[in-house]
Amino acid sequence: MAVAEQAHKVTNTDKASAVPPPAPRKPDSPVMSAVPESAAPELAPDPGKYETIGDVTATDPVLTVRDCNVYYGDNHALQHVNLDVGRNQVVALIGPSGCGKSTFIRCLNRMNDTIDTARVTGELKLHGEDINSRETDVVLLRARVGMVFQKPNPFPKTIYENVAYGPRLHGLASNRAELDEIVHGSLQRAGLWDEVKDRLDDAGTGLSGGQQQRLCIARTIAVNPEVILMDEPCSALDPIATAKIEDLIDELAQNYAIAIVTHSMQQAARVSQRTAYFHLGKLIEVDQTDKVFTNPSHKLTEDYVTGRFG
C-alpha cells in the first residue's frame, strides 16, 4: 500500500506513485470513445505490397477482411491482410510468435480499441456491415463476435454468474427461467455441464484450468454470437483438457464461424478446414488445411510447418 499514507504516500503525496502503471495501458475508452481511424492518409501504401498465396475468399463469408493494417504507434504490426471466414467454418491462424495473429483476430471484434497506441485501417465486414467504422456499435459487434482468450479468465464470480453475465448484460433473458435455460444450454454445449451441475454456486476461479477455459467458452456462447474468436485457447492446458476443447470446437463449428489462433500444427490440422500462415505481419498463405500442411506453396510456410523455423 502506498500509503504507509502515509509515506507511501507522499503521500501522496503520500506516495505519489509507488505502484507501477498496469502493464498494458488502461483502455482510454474502449467502448465508446476510442474511434478507430478508418483511413490513415499520411501512411503511404507500403511499397513492399505482396500477394497472399491461395484463395483468401470463402463461399458463404461471415467475415470479410480486405487490406487490413494495424499500427502500434509506428510499428506496422499487420500489413495488408485479406481474409474471409465462412459460415460453419473453422479457420486456423498459425505463424511464429509476434507475427500478428493475435493482433489480427483482435481487429475482428475491435478489442484493439482497448490499446491506446493501436490504429486499425482497412475494410473489415461482418455480413457486409463495416466493423471498423466510427458508427459501428462495438457493444453490438462484440455480442455478435465473441472471443476466448489465451489464459482462462473467468470472473471472480460463481460459475452460474460467469455464464449468466453476458445474457444479463444484453437482456437476453426476460426471466430467471430463461436465464437458467441459457446457462444450462451454454454449459452443456461447452461440455462442462456434467462436471459443474452440482456446484453452479461455487467460484468460477476454483475450477481447473481446462474447466475454466470451457467455462469461458460457455460464457462466450451464452451470448449466442455468430463468430467465435479464439486466441490460443489451449496453450495453458494439458493434453486431455486440450482434447476436450478440440472436440468442443468441432461441435461448435456446426453453428458458428470460428477463427482460432494456435501454435500447435496438429491442433490446426485437427480442428480447422482452412489455415492461414502469418509471417512478420504479413499473411503469406491461406488454403485448405490439408493443403497447407501437406503441400505448402510458399517457402516460409513450408519451413514453418516442417518445423525448420519458428
Binding site: V3, A4, E5, Q6, A7, H8, K9, V10, T11, T13, D14, K15, A16, A18, V31, M32, D137, V139, L140, A143, R144, L169, H170, G171, L172, E181, H184, G185, Q188, R189, V223, N224, E226, Q254, N255, Y256
Partner: protein, 438 residues
C-alpha cells in the same frame, strides 16, 4: 433440458438475439454516460475543493505580506532618551520611545488638544513603532539629538482600513476604528504619509497580542529546530532498521511481528504519539515542556515508520545481482550493504525522508499535547527553549477574533504550504532525477 442444440438453432435464434441486444442498447448507453458523468463530477468536485481551499486562503491572506506604515518626523530628543549623555545602553533601552512617536503624531494634528482626542490619535500608531525606534537608537546612538523622517508601522485597525477590510458605512459603534480616526487617516493619506510596505516583521518576530507585531519568526525557528532533531534521529534510525529488516533479519515470527508493528504504527493517530510524548518524555524523563527538542523526539517516533517503509522499498529495488557481484569479489555482507546497497538506495531513502519531514512539519496535534501551544513572544535560540511551531501558531491565531489575525493566519498557512510544496517538489525532483530502471 437435455435436448442437444440442433443445427438450425444458430440461424433461427440469431436475429432474435440481435434484436434483444439492440432493444437494450439505448438504455445501456444512457447508464454508461451517467456513470461516466458521476466519475467526471467527482473528479471535478475534488479539483474544485483544491481550488476553493486555495482561493479562500490566499484571498484572505495575501495582504498580510504588506503592512501599512506611516511617515513621521521623529525628534530623537536627547532630553528624553539619555538626559545625561551617558550613552549607556541600559538607560537608552529604558527610555520612553512611545512618547517620541506620540509627539510626532501630535505635531501632525496640532488642532487635537483634548486628552481623549490625543489618546485616540495615538492609537493610530502601533505599539511596535516605539520598539522600532528603541532598536534603531540602540544600534546607532548617534541618532540621539537628530531629527529623522521614518516609516513606522500603523495600528492593525488602520492597516485593515487601508487594506479595505473595514466597511466605512457600518455604524461607528460596531467597528473598532472611529469616524474621527478615519478622518485622520484620510488626512494622512492625502498628505502621502501612508504607504504599504513589505512586512518583514511578519517573518522576523515572535507571537504577540498585537496583530501588527505578531510574526511567524519564532514559530519558523521552533519548527526548524524540531525538524533538525527529527531528521537527525529518524533518518539514521529508519535506515538502520530498514537495512536490518531487508538485509540481515532472519525470516521468523519476531520479524513478522516487527513488520506488522511498523505498518500499524504508520497508521496510529498522531495525537496518540502526543500522549506518549507527554507521558514519557515530559512526565517520566522530565524534559522541559514546550521545547522543540521534545517535539522533535515525538515527531521522530511518528515519522520513523514512514521512513522505514520508504527505505525498505528503496533497498528492495536494488537488484540482487549487485549484491551477488559484491559478495562474489569477497566483500562481507556488511561491506556489500554499506558500499553498494545503501548508496544505490540512498535517493529513494532520501525521498522517503523528505516526505516524512513534510508530514512532520505540518503536524500539530501531538505538539499540543506536549505544551507547544504556549504564548511565546521570544524567538527561541536553542532547541531547549520554549517555542511553538508553524502549524501550532496557525492554530493559535485561528482563534483570535481580530480581522488582522485572520489575515495573518492565512498568510502563515501560505508560508507553511510553500514550505511543504518545496519539500514535496524536492522529493519528486529527486525521484525523477535518480530514478533508475534495472
Amino acid at each position: 433440458m437435455s435436448d442437444q442444440p440442433d443445427m438450425n438453432e444458430f440461424s433461427a435464434r440469431s436475429p432474435d438475439t440481435l434484436e434483444r441486444v439492440r432493444v437494450g442498447l439505448a438504455a445501456r448507453y444512457r447508464r454508461e454516460r451517467r456513470f461516466r458523468m458521476y466519475g467526471l463530477m467527482s473528479t471535478c468536485l475534488g479539483l474544485l475543493f483544491v481550488l476553493f481551499l486555495f482561493v479562500s486562503i490566499i484571498s484572505n491572506g495575501y495582504t498580510a505580506f504588506w503592512q501599512t506604515q506611516v511617515r513621521l518626523e521623529i525628534d530623537f530628543d536627547a532630553q528624553l532618551i539619555d538626559p545625561d549623555g551617558t550613552g549607556d545602553a541600559k538607560i537608552i533601552g529604558s527610555a520612553n520611545f512611545d512618547k517620541l512617536v506620540r509627539t510626532a503624531v501630535g505635531q501632525l494634528f496640532p488642532e487635537v488638544t483634548d486628552r481623549r482626542g490625543r489618546r485616540s490619535l495615538n492609537r493610530l500608531m502601533s505599539a511596535g513603532a516605539g520598539f522600532e525606534l528603541r532598536e534603531m537608537t540602540l544600534a546607532d546612538p548617534a541618532l540621539i539629538g537628530t531629527r529623522q523622517t521614518l516609516w513606522l508601522p500603523a495600528d492593525d485597525e488602520v492597516d485593515m482600513l487601508i487594506k479595505g477590510y473595514i466597511d466605512r458605512d457600518v455604524p461607528e459603534g460596531s467597528r473598532r476604528i472611529k469616524d474621527q480616526q478615519i478622518l485622520w487617516v484620510d488626512a494622512l493619506i492625502a498628505d502621502e504619509r501612508i504607504e504599504r510596505q513589505f512586512n518583514t516583521d511578519f517573518f522576523r518576530l515572535g507571537d504577540s497580542r498585537e496583530p501588527e507585531l505578531a510574526g511567524i519568526g519564532g514559530a519558523i525557528k521552533g519548527s526548524f529546530f524540531m525538524l533538525v532533531v527529527t531528521i537527525a534521529l529518524s533518518f539514521p534510525l529508519g535506515v538502520a532498521a530498514a537495512v536490518y529488516l531487508e538485509e540481515f533479519a532472519p525470516k521468523n515470527r519476531w520479524v513478522d511481528v516487527l513488520e506488522v508493528n511498523i505498518n500499524n504504527l504508520a497508521a496510529v493517530p498522531s495525537i496518540v504519539f502526543g500522549l506518549l510524548g507527554l507521558a514519557v518524555f515530559i512526565n517520566f524523563f522530565g524534559l522541559p515542556r514546550s521545547a522543540p527538542l521534545v517535539g522533535g523526539l515525538v515527531l521522530t517516533l511518528m515519522t520513523l515508520p514512514t521512513i522505514i517503509i520508504a527505505s525498505r522499498a528503496a533497498i528492495k529495488s536494488v537488484p540482487p545481482s549487485v549484491r551477488q557481484a559484491a559478495l562474489g569479489v569477497g566483500a562481507s555482507q556488511m561491506q556489500t550493504v554499506f558500499h553498494h546497497v545503501i548508496p544505490l538506495a540512498m535517493p529513494g531513502m532520501l525521498t522517503g525522508a523528505i516526505i516524512g519531514m513534510a508530514r512532520a512539519l505540518g503536524e500539530s496535534a501531538p505538539l499540543l499535547m506536549i505544551g507547544m501551544i504556549a504564548f511565546i513572544v521570544e524567538v527561541p535560540g536553542t532547541p531547549l527553549e520554549p517555542s511553538t511551531a508553524l502549524p501550532v501558531q496557525i492554530y493559535l491565531w485561528a482563534d483570535s477574533p481580530e480581522r488582522a489575525f485572520v489575515e495573518r493566519t492565512s498568510a502563515a498557512i501560505m508560508v507553511l504550504l510553500a514550505f511543504l510544496l518545496v519539500m514535496n517538489g524536492a522529493a519528486i525532483w529527486m525521484r525523477k532525477r535518480f530514478e533508475r530502471r534495472w
